[in-house]
Symmetry: C2
Subunit: 141 residues, 2 copies
DNA sequence: TGTATTATTGAAAATGACTTTCATTATCAA
DNA sequence: TTGATAATGAAAGTCATTTTCAATAATACA
């Protein structure tokens, strides 16, 4: 996973720095949606001199490369999660941000019908299930 | 519509001021998701002395009263739309923010199944169709 | 109706997330 | 190894939103 990300950065002509590697380590392995400040804190455990600016810049790059996507929750809209191949929908924990992609619901045709009824040109859709994961239930939120 | 909102404010013991009435006028009549600055500009056409702070405070109240809800889009997550009675899903224009609530898709059971597979306690879900309304298509975005 | 109480208002200052600037440093192709 | 230049991070800047606070206005009630 990490190597794929690093390769994509190289393909785009970007240099591989220790900072970028450390940030990629965190984000490519996390199954939780993370805010920049969380990435900063986690990365600094192994790389204490890292600057917040570099986190912002690197995450922006990763999003542009299609490796990260923004995730919206009531608790905030500045969380980022690794992208999964193909079209997927999201099940996400409001407690800890743990995210699970799922597929298999076949509603795309119905969505198109609704859009047409209202003369909309449908571009995409967003389906997200919000709840509490097992651990967060156990820890009583 | 406006009167219902005003009554709800009164019920909560809030005073009815000219500013609040003007803001309620705009928001209760709009079928577009609006940002605070847009509400400010629209309201100031009839109430030029209004302050931005009052817009923020009033919109926060209206959200807490369940009259307004936040709408998330790529273009920003600070837009607010009047709530529609019952459970609804949203079709929204990325150009102008025009929003249409729809219902009739019956997927709640499937959602519950997916959550259970992953030991999640499902709390709610967001389904939003994103596209361009007829006018925005015509004006070529 | 007048008056007291107190919620509301808006200017101004504060906050905080994010961006920009820029001198220094590190990567990597040659 | 070296030179071109991309990347870094401290510091300053932006901008949306929040907080503070003195003045004002809405409501309850005498
Ligand atoms: Mn889908
Ligand atoms: Mn639903
Ligand atoms: Zn959780
Ligand atoms: Zn539109």
């Amino acid at each position: 996973m990490k190597n794929i990300w690093i390769d994509k950065l190289k393909e785009k002509g970007m240099r591989i720095t220790a900072q970028r590697e450390a940030i990629v380590d965190i984000l490519s392995q996390s199954d939780k949606a993370l805010e920049p400040i969380e990435v900063y804190d986690l990365t600094r455990q192994n790389h204490p001199t890292l600057g917040m600016v570099t986190v912002y810049r690197t995450m922006e790059c990763l999003e542009e490369l299609g490796l990260l996507q923004k995730v919206h929750q009531d608790s905030g809209c500045n969380k980022y999660l690794k992208v999964k191949e193909g079209h997927n929908h999201l099940l996400i924990c409001r407690g800890c941000g743990k995210a699970i992609y799922f597929e298999g619901l076949d509603m795309e045709m119905q969505f198109e019908g609704i859009a047409q009824q209202h003369n909309f040109n449908l571009e995409d859709h967003w389906l997200q299930l919000n709840g509490l994961c097992q651990q967060c239930q156990a820890s009583g939120r």
